[in-house]
Symmetry: C2
Subunit: 1013 residues, 2 copies
């Protein structure tokens, strides 16, 4: 979908930079960053020259600095927390014959960089001729070890191809502690403002063993948080020159860096044919005082780097490969038909694996460990985007991310008190656990973070059944969050006694400080329900443990009952007229943003309009209602989902990277597959193609997770409500096959999808019941269960008027009588426009046609009068009034086990059906009562299928009006049109006489087969 040509060839297991482009340096530093959840190195060149942002980050290692406000108020977040750019250990400088290796000078004869997603190694190969004509080949490999969390290594192989006799070769390897974060910019999403130096070097040493060793250490300490980080380094060297030695082991002039240097002299001139080889491997270990004591971490860094050196690069690389093999064994996804896409997906999964904290003290930052955007903060992204991925692909990592939240529970309790609430209130953005949002309307006001955390926790618990974690601290967290909601909300008289949550901000940050944000209310409801269920379950299954927890947090049974009540009476804002949910109480009262009058360059809006302006309009940064219906889909009917999506998607800007994946999942569920595909493609290569233009500040981890979510929740239609997996696959036309795997309750499930078939294989574990398209499928280990995706006709839904009987004629006569009485012109051509249209609207059409208008009260009376005439007429209906062939058709369908429903806009449907004596043949009747929107809205057809439990695409609808045909097609059903003008019908007949069961089967089959192309 992106118009930009990709910078990287579409290899499915690698990201390759094929030529050196100085304009791409900053972006590539992010793309080629390596990390292991603890330590992250940006893809900087070892030689430093030309680098954009030299960056090295340790997850959870931050400095605090007071937030300065224009105007302070009580309870504002006090400090920023900023993930620090720590000592740069990547530096290896090369000087040949006095000339530094610098790609912007001399001539680059060959260049390639490659990130291998299976080996986890970053390769760089180049051949360079210096300004004076010396020539060399360099091959580096770099890793940040998944097996040894503190360790990184750079394998540096040099071949001198051309150099004069006596030329010196000098290699300097350094760890530089004089590091700084980038300073703030105008964009509120980037930037850091320290008023004093964040890091001070407290120790810098090189060359132990009397200056002869190739090792050293740099220790940095933060000013305010008093955290320390030690970077120890050591080297292996082979292929030495004569006279080669560690000539220097030096500490920088300001005592803030440590360096060792090797210098040698070429005894002879070198020619390509007899090049000189050198191999130089640098080992790094980063340990912090956060995991170990201040005394210990320095020592441990030294020991760790020694052990790595001992092992050597080859062992480290082979460990790396094993860890990734294990990861890919579950995580790999394959798509047939689009290599660039597959590359994007794999890169995203690889990046998530690189970014997520593993130690229970750290989480996953918005930009991972690849850059300084969003200051290295953890947001709700972790729970709503990233956690589902690890829950199903790597439950161990999911557990660590959950444990991070448990570790800051006490800080969340303190924050609740500060905000005058009970329970626990998690920070909207943080590293250490304190709230750090400097703008509360789009920060602290996002109370939904509490419910998001509990939602993800429940999903993890249901998939991983981690009872230990639940009892250890998980239940406590769920209860404390429920407490917050119970205290925050209020039963409001003006909302009929509903439980209302006021003055909050939902996920959509283009609207702030609202009452009854739908997303917040539904997520809070889920939190309250879960807390209540959990208390009940633990009370009966683990009484002792429950009593211990309850007593520790002073929990009363009445409180638990209060949670149930609050959940049951939670306010759900709806607009009855439009049949959609309201994003919040007032959202639909606002004017719609002038999209047509907004030039492209005025996006993202937040950089071009004052918040007061943006907040005043209906315009979304992020899908809010749509996200609610993705996460809590069981709370919405399909008709509601469709109308919500249609309404809100049209007013959603692309201003947040978190949007497209959610829009993709929602669109897929509604059968908007092309739209779903479009949104998906914006996430899948968001970073590789720099769709948002800001990759240089780091990758978008949430969007990366969104890729997998789009595939699995979107195209595979997976849902995991209450610990039960269901699938409802719908592949885009562009793909021929999609494969992925899931870990679930100790099992490994493989899913393979084509357009015609879904194959579920339980690779490991006990039998598992899943659902496909609403029906149970029980999987046995090692056995593949294939389910056809070609729709089968299971249900026919008939319109009444003009399809089953010609009440249309009765209507016409009743209208005619009324029109004659009123002296209005009315004939059959006008009558055509009334088909499928309600009574009042019909009258309006007649009046409008006749150029008349009447007050509403009178219109109602007249419509009532017409209905009287009509009811007189239908009083005479009998079985003989069935249209030709219909009686036989109903009988045949019934015999073949096809379900039959009538879906009519007529309030008289029950009476007519009774008089026709076909009631015993019908499985279901949908009358207009309770249907919010009439045809062409698909609601009435959805409802018939939902009532009978038949997938929509297994239904045929029979209609005689254009609005009805449109409704059937919108519902994703096979549309049969009675009437030659119904061009949109999938199967058209001039009258019911030709409509046989056989014809229906045949045409449905053709249609089903074609759409599963």
């Amino acid at each position: 979908m992106s118009a930009k040509k990709s910078a990287y060839p579409p290899e499915v297991w690698a990201i390759r930079e094929t030529s050196f482009d100085p304009r791409m340096i900053a972006r590539n530093e992010t793309i080629f960053a390596l990390a292991n959840g603890h330590l992250g190195l940006r893809g900087n060149f070892e030689e430093e020259r030309g680098n954009a942002v030299d960056g090295t980050y340790v997850n959870g290692f931050y400095e605090e600095t007071p937030i300065v406000y224009g105007e302070i108020a009580y309870g504002y977040a006090q400090n920023r927390q900023v993930m620090l750019n720590v000592a740069n250990g990547k530096i290896i400088r090369l000087f040949l014959a006095g000339e530094p290796l610098d790609l912007s000078t001399g001539t680059l004869l060959a260049y390639e960089r490659r990130l291998d997603l299976r080996s986890g190694l970053l390769h760089r190969n180049l051949r360079w001729r210096s300004p004076s004509g010396a020539e060399l080949e360099l091959e580096t490999r770099r890793l940040v070890s998944f097996a040894r969390r503190h360790v990184a290594a750079i394998d540096y192989r040099l071949r001198i191809l051309r150099a004069p006799k006596g030329a010196t070769l000098r290699i300097e390897s350094e760890v530089n502690g004089d590091t700084h974060n980038q300073s703030g910019a105008e964009d509120p999403r980037i930037g850091t403002h320290f008023r004093e130096r964040a890091l001070t070097v407290t120790r810098a040493e090189a060359g132990g063993n009397g200056g002869r060793a190739l090792s050293g250490i740099v220790v940095q300490q933060t000013t305010n948080t008093r955290f320390a980080v030690a970077c120890a380094f050591d080297h292996l060297v082979s292929g030495a020159l004569p006279g080669w030695m560690c000539t220097e082991a030096a500490v920088g002039a300001r005592a803030d860096s440590a360096r060792i240097s090797l210098v040698g002299e070429l005894p002879e001139a070198v020619e390509p044919a007899c090049g000189v080889d050198l191999r130089f491997t640098k080992f790094l270990a980063y340990c912090t005082s956060l995991e170990l004591s201040k005394e210990e971490h320095e020592r441990r860094a030294g020991e760790t780097v020694s052990a790595a050196k001992e092992a050597g690069f080859k062992i480290l690389a082979s460990e790396q490969r094993s860890e990734l093999d294990r990861f890919w064994a579950t995580a790999d996804v394959s798509i047939e038909g689009d290599d660039a896409l597959l590359q994007g997906i794999r890169y995203n999964l690889f990046s998530l694996f690189q970014s997520a904290g593993r130690d229970g003290r750290t989480s996953i930052a918005a930009k991972g460990l690849t850059g300084e955007g969003y200051e290295g903060h953890y947001f709700w992204d972790t729970e709503i985007y990233v956690l589902p991925v690890f829950t199903y692909l790597d439950p161990g990592i999911a557990r660590a991310l959950v444990r991070y939240r448990l570790s800051i529970l006490d800080k969340a309790r303190a924050r609740a008190i500060e905000m005058s609430q009970r329970g626990a209130l998690f920070p909207w953005r943080t590293i250490g656990g304190e709230e750090t949002s400097p703008y509360y309307p789009a920060g602290s006001a996002q109370y939904h973070i509490d419910a998001d955390i509990v939602f993800a926790f429940r999903r993890y618990m249901e998939a991983a059944r981690d009872e230990g974690l639940l009892l250890e601290r998980g239940a406590e967290m769920v209860f404390e969050a429920a407490r917050l909601w119970a205290d925050l909300g209020t039963y409001s008289e003006s909302k009929g006694g509903d439980f209302c949550i006021n003055e909050v901000t939902g996920p959509d940050e283009y609207t702030a400080l609202v009452n009854n944000n739908l997303y917040t209310n539904l997520m809070a409801q889920a939190n309250l329900e879960y807390a209540h269920e959990l208390a009940a379950r633990l009370g009966s299954e683990a009484g002792g443990e429950y009593r211990r927890i309850a007593s520790a947090i002073g929990l009363e049974e009445s409180e638990v009952e209060g949670w149930r009540q609050a959940a049951a009476r939670m306010h759900v804002p709806v607009d009855r007229e439009r049949g959609i949910h309201k994003q919040d109480d007032l959202f639909l009262d606002r004017a719609v943003w002038d999209f047509a009058g907004t030039p492209k360059e005025s996006y993202p809006l937040l950089l071009h309009y004052h918040p007061l302006v943006i907040y005043r309009f209906q315009v979304l940064k992020q899908p809010d209602v749509v996200l609610a219906q993705v996460l809590r889909g069981e709370r919405f009917s399909m008709a509601e989902k469709r109308r919500n999506f249609d309404y809100y998607d049209a007013i959603t800007t692309g201003d947040s990277s978190l949007s497209p994946c959610i829009q993709s999942v929602a669109a897929a569920e509604l059968g908007y597959i092309e739209k779903a595909y479009g949104y998906f493609m914006r996430t899948a290569r968001m970073d590789l193609d720099d769709v948002n233009g800001n990759v240089e500040t780091g990758v978008h981890t949430a969007a990366m997770a969104g890729t997998w979510i789009s595939l699995v929740y979107g195209f595979a239609g997976m849902r995991d409500y209450r610990g039960r997996l269901s699938f409802s696959p719908r592949l885009p036309a562009q793909w021929s096959r999609l494969d992925f795997k899931l870990r679930f309750q100790g099992r490994l499930l493989e899913v393979a999808l084509t357009h015609r078939e879904a194959v579920y294989t339980l690779a490991e574990g006990e039998p598992l019941a899943i659902a496909h398209g609403g029906r149970d499928v029980v999987l046995q280990a090692g056995r593949a269960s294939a389910v056809s995706l070609i729709p089968q006709l299971e249900c026919v839904i008939f319109d009444l008027d003009g399809v089953i009987t010609d009440t249309a004629e009765h209507h016409f006569r009743a209208w005619k009588r009324l029109a004659d009485e009123l002296g209005l012109a009315f004939d059959r051509s006008v009558n055509e426009r009334l088909k499928g249209v309600g009574r009042l609207e019909s009258l309006e059409i007649i009046l409008e046609q006749a150029g008349r208008s009447l007050p509403e009260g009178e219109r109602r009376q007249l419509a009532e009068r017409k209905n009287g005439y009509y009811r007189e007429l239908i009083g005479g209906i009998g079985p003989g009034d069935l249209l030709p062939g219909i009686g036989a058709l109903l009988g045949e369908l019934r015999e073949s086990g096809i379900k039959i429903a009538v879906a009519s806009a007529s309030h008289n449907v029950w009476e007519v059906v009774r008089r026709l004596q076909i009631e015993p043949l019908l499985d279901h009747i949908v009358d207009p009562a309770g249907v919010v929107k009439g045809k062409p809205d698909p609601e009435i057809f959805y409802r018939a299928a939902e009532a009978l439990g038949v997938p929509f695409d297994h239904c045929a609808g029979v209609e005689d009006a254009a609005a009805g045909i449109a409704a059937i097609r919108a519902a994703g059903m096979f549309a049969v049109g009675i009437g030659s003008s119904l061009k949109e019908a999938d199967f058209r007949l001039s009258d019911t006489g030709a409509l046989t069961a056989e014809a229906l089967w045949r045409e449905f089959g053709r249609w089903a087969s074609a759409r599963s192309g």
Copy 2:
């Protein structure tokens, strides 16, 4: 009302400090500050020692400094503007025998400070014995000249009473340019944050004429705004000692101050009997580059100080007296009965006179020129609080304040563009015209400032008829503000097509970012209406001028018509159920703040709760709806005003100094005189008694103006809708008399009020028609028009049931029949509870009594059935059913010209009246249709009196039920009770037989006389 004992004796023309109390220093520096609208000197001691905050301020002289935000967003105010503490010219240091004059050392033998409100001089007299035993008397007088805006002077008279021979006397007089503003504190209402030095001294010179002159100059310049201020000084000396001379004329060590010193030696020992006298007068002139060019202002300062010296202190003092005589000739207010109060009122008026800018470039700061609170900013306080006072007391100053707004119109236009709006958007807080609110939810979001400015402008125009200013720029401002509203608002479908204004903050800052804030909508409506009227009037009366203005701002006629439409369709949020206006669309959906659970020390709430917490509840910082009904009273019925006040007053904290005066005016209108008095007393001496505990940071100018507003709009009941004055006086019991004057359309109007009489005298000018209590009074120059304030009986309002006829009996029988049918116990004792109660509520009482409950639909049916029975019964009613005496009474009242109304809760009132054949005797009937709240709400009685145009207290109400009596009393009417149990009635009879016209007259007269004290 304040529990604190006043610090100053209750003198009616002076503020006197009778003893020296170091704890009062900071507070007294504010109280004894002198200013003239241009220059302000805090009441610092000349000797500096012991001063709290040395402060010297020039109105409109400010520095800008960037606002630092926690998180920046588009359109945020960029810079702070801070009124600067400029060069301190007050310094006169005295050393006797080497000992400095310092009141904290030695012995203070006598001390007094006195601010004379008529002379405008600040006196200090003291007698002091130094630690070593020397003794002196000091008398200083200080003024900041109203006649010469740049000039201040200090007359310093010294008498040495005791000193040894040879003792030196040294006097140093200095102007110190090393001045700083106070630094910020935790309270968001105070404090300034400069990142660099705001003021630099560019010139400091002393002792011209070869060091022998006693003059000098200090010039300071701001760093960012590049404004300059020059302070020139000079001296007159008399009574010299031998050898006395200007020994030094020096510039401070850092070249930032200028000083002259006099030193003499006592040739003989001094004893009290033969004291040595010295008089030393210091003249100061402060001129800025804002009024003059950079080159000129320094020269002008020198010339100005020379001229002042030439005139001498005596002339300056006499000019000062003349200016104040002129001011007080109009502005003086007198109240008999409370000297402390009168002192407070006069001090407040004096302070306003001191604070208001006169030059059309400056306005009046929230703290005047007395301190640094609110950074010297101008707010809506100017228009809503201060301008009405000057409009009626000193139209020249009012004009200058209006001209200030016109001077920043172009900046308001630029701000509108920045905020994506058309027209002009005035800054919420500013000095130079730019928006400087660092917290937009309680700053820029207060769009109502635009309407406030136009509202005050219209009032000024109507009172001063300043057509020149209107055409010069005034009309343009009104049009541009109307443009803003037309563009900001939107016609909302969900509000029935009403014009809605969303996402704004009203005056109440404990609720932010709401839709349809009532105050904002009504004020915007007034703005739009005025703009439309003005365009129409100018178009017809001053076509050429109008075309010039319209063309200059590109005004189209369709736009003007759009203003009319928007005003006509402006949304007015109401709660029909409660019969009150909603502060905003959602206000009443919120829970009410837990006042009972909030300890006293948690106020003001803004210092103890996060805004998110405060915003979530119904709790007011400032009256919002109540202010709307004070300013736009013609838009509310009396019943609405009463219910609004009752509801909102109960949830208004005392957290803003702007509240009490508005609450006082509203309470007075409703006859809540004690309450009005209580609120008034909180404003009248707010600063003298330091009610809010923060006088040290400056006086509260808006509250000071509020004192006068409370008197005139509150107790005198003045209204000035559309250029017409009306009065409706109601004096508190504590006072015997209130006198004040007003300037209006070139006239001088004197108002004298006692409890029994209002006397209006037109002291100057053409005849004027005013209104008193709803009736016209035409005033002729020089003639006093006295109007009695003792209510006269003009109208009797009868309840129907049980008063005019015994339908009560029919009701009883109808209910009894229904109850019997349902098998419910029901008797006359239960029936008593139904009196004055509606049909459905009555049924509920019966059901509840019988322990039964029924669904609502059924209840409605049963009530309907009872009504059928009742209507059967009343079908038989005739004139014979009039209760005893009523027929005669109605006839008598009619003959005496007393108006007669029936106000009944019965839907059958019309039928019953007709059958009784008394309809011709009645002037008005109020039936329950359209009455929002039944008795005991006074609405139905208010409506009867309003319909007949009779003041409420000129009405008697006759009732047989307690709820009715309560309603009559609440309406401020004379309550006649039929029934011996009606203890609350003003006049009680056991039955109607005794109710004669004569008795009514007599008892009404007693009541009226008693309540008029």
